[in-house]
């Protein structure tokens, strides 16, 4: 992988952070606006994928990075699981144990924002791991 032209690299340097920020915005406002954990997580993963595509150096695509993103995925899903289990201990599985707050405020809807964050981490980690896996597979095939 040779990487892309300096144009793409420069634009990516500026844009990746903003895409990341926008993804987080979508995750955090999942209970207020369209979007949520999955859509935002995809954007967060896209920010990282963009950086790696632009850089395109073989050392950027490494097993260690895959390991780390799959760790993030596991952590995200375990967070989600723990949130569900707290509900089980308090009454029923997935019981919304936090106060609901006022509608249309950022901190409202009980534990749904927390779930969205967990899903966001999970999706971002999973997608990035998929991307690296496919990239490693492709690079490995060229011999």
């Amino acid at each position: 992988m040779r990487g892309m032209t300096p144009i793409v690299k420069t634009v990516t340097r500026g844009m990746a952070g903003m895409i990341f920020l926008y993804g987080i915005y979508i995750v955090l406002h999942g209970h207020l606006t369209p979007g949520g954990g999955f859509a935002g997580g995809v954007m967060v993963a896209a920010a990282f994928v963009l950086v790696f595509l632009a850089k395109g150096s073989p050392e950027a695509v490494s097993e260690a990075k895959k390991e780390r993103s799959s760790m993030a995925e596991s952590l995200g899903i375990l967070t989600f699981w723990v949130l569900a289990m707290i509900g089980l201990i308090g009454g029923t599985f997935f019981y919304n144990f936090l106060t609901k707050g006022k509608p249309f405020r950022l901190l409202s809807a009980g534990f749904i924002p927390l779930n969205n964050i967990a899903i966001g981490i999970e999706v971002a980690g999973a997608l990035f791991a998929i991307f690296i896996t496919l990239a490693v597979l492709k690079a490995g095939g060229k011999k």
């Binding site: 144009i7 952070g17 903003m18 955090l28 950022l106």
Partner: protein
């Protein structure tokens, strides 16, 4: 230094997104922008010092005007070529050389060339060589092409970015 600048830019972007000055949004924004700066701050901004030199902003405004003017001219040129029954075009890719040094300036130049109708930057290499697709190649020579396409933006861009 560059991190702080990046944080401020990110925070401005966050405020633009939320369009609210609720304390909840402000606090979350600070945390989120901190995270963004931690991850992407390293690769995003170099030489932040340049952001605090007001004359650059003046040249920036001037550059935008020049760009708009060039776009307008090129628009009429392309429209003329399209509407003319004989279609006086001679498409081809020419090589031009930019004397700009920084990546940001070169990118800005390449994108400006793409923005103007009739020319389109196809590729750019590390030494500042631009490969431009031109709807009506007036001169195959790199030197002349540079003169005709690149120079009109380059002088101002040099003052904006370098």
């Amino acid at each position: 230094m560059s991190r702080i600048v990046y944080f401020i830019i990110a925070y401005a972007f966050w405020l633009l997104l939320t369009l609210s000055v609720d304390w909840q949004h402000l606090v979350t924004g600070a945390v989120v922008c901190g995270l963004t700066t931690m991850i992407f701050g390293k690769i995003s901004i170099s030489r932040a010092r340049k952001l605090f030199q007001p004359q650059r902003y003046f040249w920036m405004v001037l550059y935008v005007l020049v760009l708009l003017w060039e776009c307008l001219k090129a628009n009429f040129d392309v429209a003329y070529r399209v509407l003319h029954p004989a279609m006086p075009i001679r498409p081809g890719i020419v090589k031009a050389r930019s004397s700009l040094k920084t990546d940001v300036a070169r990118t800005c130049l390449a994108n400006s060339i793409t923005m103007t109708p009739g020319t389109l930057t196809v590729d750019m290499n590390g030494e500042g060589d631009l490969y431009i697709h031109w709807i009506n190649v007036k001169d195959d020579d790199a030197q002349h092409a540079t003169q005709m396409i690149v120079k009109r933006f380059e002088r101002i861009l040099k003052r904006v970015f370098e």
